[in-house]
């Protein structure tokens, strides 16, 4: 049996926990016997700016970067960020987007409006667009920081791993005290979407 391969692009705003989400995904792939690479940028970009992670898995991965137009799955933590990196998605790729608006400076200061047509424009990119309200799911658990793992749960429908792989990865990766809440967040996220 050939090992499947794929490219997952994560986009969000600094502070939303994209890094931890990608760590859990990577560990889940590694534990399941895949070669995996991921790349992201630390430092200045993390201060409330756009942040991205390139995650690639397969039998053997060379480049740590995904090419534009090649990502099989785009997980976006915010709608503008989904649009900003939509060109990374391959034709027919899937997109899981958190329907949250975080105002960039030009919007927060009233120089321009938050794009009101964001959802429509995303739909024009792919008919495999899945909007979820990860923030509401996290808030209903009284843990706003769980948005990232809720999204991992929702996106897991589009990845070739069993549910147990993610839970094993969270147990291995996270401090003991926050494993339970994150497993709960993952399941809540997974329940937001139907199997692909």
């Amino acid at each position: 049996m050939s090992v499947p391969k794929g490219d997952v692009f994560l986009a969000g705003v600094g502070g939303q926990g994209t890094l931890l989400a990608s760590e859990v995904l990577c560990d889940a792939f590694l534990l399941s016997g895949f070669d995996v690479k991921k790349s992201e940028v630390h430092g200045m970009a993390q201060r409330g700016g756009s942040v991205t992670t390139h995650l690639r898995f397969g039998p053997k991965v060379f480049s740590p970067l995904i090419e534009p137009g090649k990502a099989d799955l785009l997980i976006a933590f915010e709608m503008i960020e989904a649009l900003r990196f939509a060109h990374y998605l391959r034709p027919g790729g899937a997109m899981v987007v958190n329907a949250q608006e975080i105002f960039p400076p030009s919007v927060a200061t009233g120089q321009e409006r938050y794009p009101q047509d964001a959802a429509e424009r995303l739909r024009a990119v792919t008919d495999r667009l899945h909007m979820v309200d990860a923030l509401a799911a996290a808030l209903s658990m009284r843990e706003v920081r769980a948005v990232n793992i809720v999204l991992v749960g929702a996106a897991s429908h589009f990845l070739p791993l069993p549910e147990a792989a993610y839970e094993e990865a969270m147990k291995a990766r996270l401090p003991e005290g926050i494993v339970a809440v994150n497993v709960q967040a993952f399941r809540a996220g997974r329940a937001l979407l139907q199997p692909a």
Binding site: R47, E67, V107
Partner: protein, 603 residues
């Protein structure tokens, strides 16, 4: 690689984590560094291993000097820094090349093509050539660990410091690494006096230079036969010479091409280049930034293509490499036009209060490296220059001297606590010594913030987390001869502005220390803080609060109908709103509202 074989030995590590692991397995006893993206996590990870000593030095020069001392003392030692840090450390580096080492000595340079978090994108392979020091260049995390181990072996075998060069896509990319057992040098610590080797008087250094040239010849022979420099024969119609992360892009874009992978960026294997070129019909050199390999290959008389195809600016990726070599553009969807989201000072950042007050003075602000550089962006736009670590103070002094009387009271410099201790102290000493009148603003947020909260000499804690004597910043400034040193709370913008106005006008040097902790410090985040809200009925949409540029303050635009529906005049364009998820409770915005519309939110 068979990933399934032995799972327990395999870890997913970043390049930085892999270098730290390699240093541990190599038995490194002493490591010193100054934090700098993308190198910071090397020491943060290394310090977690049992039985090692690691420290944050005030700057990269000190870090290298500490590592040299440890090597002289007979243990393996590591110094790590970002690319521009090597500029600071270049002085000891060029001479330790002459002395050589006792315990293995490795200097990590983490370059930043694409300037993800840097002020330039210099290519530090030039340092290997200029300082005559061998340089290993891994292509991923797996090699980052293996090459770190090898670097220590080579260092002791050839009596030389060794550079290990990474780039952002090595340092901050994760890949699978095979763990090994720690070992170490086969000799005991101890310093053996040997003036001819360690005392670089001209007489001794002249003899050591001869040794260095012989060493380079021996290393060149090693480069010819070491399997880290290797030919992967494939389709002979295209031969690509490459190194570092570019190798991964080449393998992705041209899986069938013949490839010469260079793992030792200096010295280079002439015979191997010739053998490769003779076996392929077209040679292309694929490397990020400068044509380091290309110039060498062409100097051998080998016809090759390089920078006429491959960009010299920024980082590469498989698409750029494929397009450059085949000339074919693969169509992709054009990026959507959306509002930009540049990095910003955090909600509750004490720097915001200072820069908001400073902007009112309409002075020229020479800036420095750190989070505070973000104040150069709108809407604050309160910084006019930024060159390198510590430059702000010298820049302000020079500008004052250039402007003469016309410049009096019109230039101030702004520098963070860690940056001041890195290389601002000598600048301030110069202001006092040379009868300047600069106003220096020292932003003391009790941490090295931009790189992700590292301790420094003024925070009272070491890298190991032990309490230590704090550098007393006001006392240090006074000891340098500054008579006017004042500490203010930058969240109190009214008081801060008053002190700024007074000190800028003073015809003598003065230092204003703005003291408030970084909003991201765990101690601060654990504190119970108020959250503010905008009382909708009172907001007139004047935007006085928006001008702070705080990410928590959002503008809600109105159409005339919406304005009327909200009980406002039809001409009101919108109103402010504070995100309760983002508000840090710093209390900078409430005093800015003339209508008292910003109040503490009741639980």
């Amino acid at each position: 690689m068979s990933v399934l074989a032995k799972k327990e030995e395999l870890r997913l590590l970043s390049g930085n984590e892999a270098v730290a692991r390699g240093a541990f397995e190599a038995g490194v006893k002493v490591a010193s560094a100054y934090p700098g993206t993308p190198s910071t996590e090397i020491l943060e990870n290394f310090v977690r291993y049992e039985g090692v000593y690691a420290e944050w030095a005030p700057n990269e020069k000190v870090a290298v000097e500490v590592a040299i001392g440890a090597s002289m003392g007979g243990v393996r030692a590591l110094a790590a820094m970002k690319h521009v840090g090597v500029n600071v450390a270049a002085d000891p580096i060029f001479t330790v090349s002459y002395t050589g080492v006792r315990g293995g000595l490795v200097i990590v340079t983490a370059d930043d093509p694409e300037l993800h978090s840097s002020q330039n994108e210099q290519d530090n392979r030039h340092y290997a050539v200029a300082a005559k020091i061998p340089m290993l260049e891994p292509s991923d995390s797996f090699e980052a660990k293996e090459f770190t181990l090898l670097a220590f072996e080579l260092s002791e075998r050839f009596d030389t410091p060794v550079f290990l060069r990474t780039t952002t896509r090595i340092s901050h990319a994760k890949g699978v690494v095979r763990l090994g057992e720690p070992s170490g040098p086969a000799f005991a610590p101890g310093f053996t006096p040997d003036p001819a080797k360690w005392v670089m008087l001209p007489l001794n250094a002249k003899r050591r230079h001869v040794v260095v040239e012989e060493r380079t010849k021996a290393l060149r022979e090693f480069a010819e036969t070491w399997d880290g420099n290797r030919i992967e024969w494939g389709d002979r119609s295209l031969g690509i010479i490459t190194s570092g992360v570019s190798y991964e892009y080449v393998k992705e874009a041209f899986p069938d091409a013949s490839v010469l992978k260079i793992g030792l960026a200096w010295p280079l294997p002439d015979r191997l280049f010739r053998e490769f070129a003779a076996g392929v019909s077209r040679v292309v050199v694929v490397e990020e930034l400068d044509p380091h390999l290309e110039i060498h290959v062409k100097a051998l008389g080998i016809p090759a293509q390089g920078k006429e195809l491959i960009p010299i600016v920024g980082e590469l990726d498989p698409r750029i490499v494929r397009q450059a070599i085949t000339g074919e553009a693969i169509p992709v969807r054009a990026p959507e036009a959306v509002p930009p989201r540049p990095p910003n000072l955090c909600p509750g950042c004490p720097h915001r209060g200072l820069f908001f007050a400073l902007k009112k003075l309409k002075v020229t602000v020479t800036g420095d490296i750190g989070c505070s550089t973000l104040a150069a962006l709108p809407p604050l736009g309160a910084m006019d220059t930024c060159i390198c670590m510590g430059a702000s103070i010298g820049n302000a002094h020079g500008m004052e001297k250039a402007l003469g009387r016309d410049g009096a009271g019109k230039v101030v410099s702004v520098i963070g606590d860690s940056t001041f201790l890195h290389s601002g102290v000598t600048g301030l000493m110069n202001v006092v010594y040379n009868r300047g009148a600069s106003t220096v603003i020292l932003l003391d947020n009790d941490i090295t913030a931009m790189t992700g909260a590292q301790q420094n000499p003024a925070t009272g804690k070491t890298l190991h987390g032990e309490p230590t004597r704090r550098t007393d910043l006001p006392a240090l400034c006074r000891a340098l001869g500054v008579d006017h040193v004042y500490t203010v709370n930058p969240h109190d913008m009214k008081r801060t502005e008053a002190v700024l106005r007074r000190e800028v006008a003073r015809p003598e040097p003065s230092v204003i220390i703005t003291k408030a902790p970084c909003a991201l410090l765990p101690e601060h985040r654990r504190k119970k803080r108020p959250v503010y809200e905008v009382i909708a009925d009172l907001c007139t949409g004047c935007k006085a609060c928006s001008r702070l540029g705080c990410p928590a303050i959002e503008w809600v635009p109105f159409t005339p109908e919406e304005a009327v529906a909200a009980g406002k005049k039809a001409t009101q364009k919108g109103m402010a709103r504070i995100s309760p998820l983002l508000c840090d409770g710093c209390n900078q915005c409430p005093p800015l509202c003339k209508f008292q519309a910003i109040l503490e939110k009741k639980p």
